[in-house]
Symmetry: C2
DNA sequence: GTAGGGTCTGTAGTAACTACAGACTCAAGA
DNA sequence: TCTTGAGTCTGTAGTTACTACAGACCCTAC
């Protein structure tokens, strides 16, 4: 009785629902090559099993962590190769972490300028405004080069 | 002699160069309705004066501060109306500042997860990897709802 | 006159989705 | 059985904010 195997068979919308994603995104990832094409039923409907559920979860988690699709593709290639190493995954993740930190630094810069100018703002019904002065001035902020 | 008025007349690429922007972006902003269409010379070349230089600078500064084009459009409408108030500008800027802070919070969340998992990573040539475990797990991170 | 570089307009591509439309499928209800 | 409404399919297009390319025209130095 315990050797009964319960396999999952869900359609696209159900897959999206189970993974907290969007059904169109599922198709998009398939088109992008991140999700392998699943089996189909007689009507041509996609039928997903456990493998696809796991795979999609991986992709979604990585996206949530801010990895680009290309970066996700790289991680998947490591995993798919079957001989990923902790070292390689770590290298990629640290690169990504550095990007995240750079973005934070950028946003903090912006936050500082905004906070400073709004606090200098009288908030009155007057036409003079430090914020507009900032926007009208020569370059005052620095952003990380793209 | 001091009543000599020097007016600026530059073409698109020069305008972009003077403002540190991209000549295609200039056209894009015109198409988007943020930059009024300038005068043209006999050949049909756009000729920009001081007004346009100032206007483009405003837009670029606002973009650097992370305002969306729609938000910039709103700020410009205030300025163009000629009776902007410090109160209204401040309200919009504070809304935007709140967005920036939310983004920072999001990224910090991501940073925390990434830093934690990479530090747990042995960095060795082994197949076990906490980062992949994180990506393979059920939802572990929370993001601000879009 | 020629050549090379600049400007024009229009269109398309990028990244990462998201939505829509017409055609087909499915299942419940009359 | 037929109808209806919802679901799935494929293909295409739209969003945001750019960026690039192509063919046609303009400009200037040689």
């Amino acid at each position: 009785m315990s050797d009964r195997i319960v396999t999952t068979s869900v359609q696209r919308a159900e897959l999206a629902k189970r993974t907290g994603s969007n059904l169109e995104t599922v198709r998009y990832y398939e088109k992008a090559g991140l999700m392998p094409e699943p089996q189909r039923n007689r009507s041509g409907y996609r039928i997903y099993g456990d493998y696809h559920i796991r795979r999609l979860r991986f992709i979604l988690r990585a996206r949530e962590l801010g990895f680009t699709l290309e970066e996700v593709r790289g991680l998947l290639a490591l995993v798919d190769g079957g001989h990923q190493t902790c070292a390689e995954v770590q290298a990629r993740t640290e690169r990504h972490l550095a990007d995240v930190r750079a973005k934070i630094a950028d946003l903090k810069r912006i936050e500082r300028v905004l906070a400073k100018t709004t606090s200098a703002c009288s908030g009155l019904d007057v036409p003079d405004c430090p914020i507009l002065e900032t926007l009208n001035s020569e370059r005052t902020i620095r952003r990380r080069a793209k």
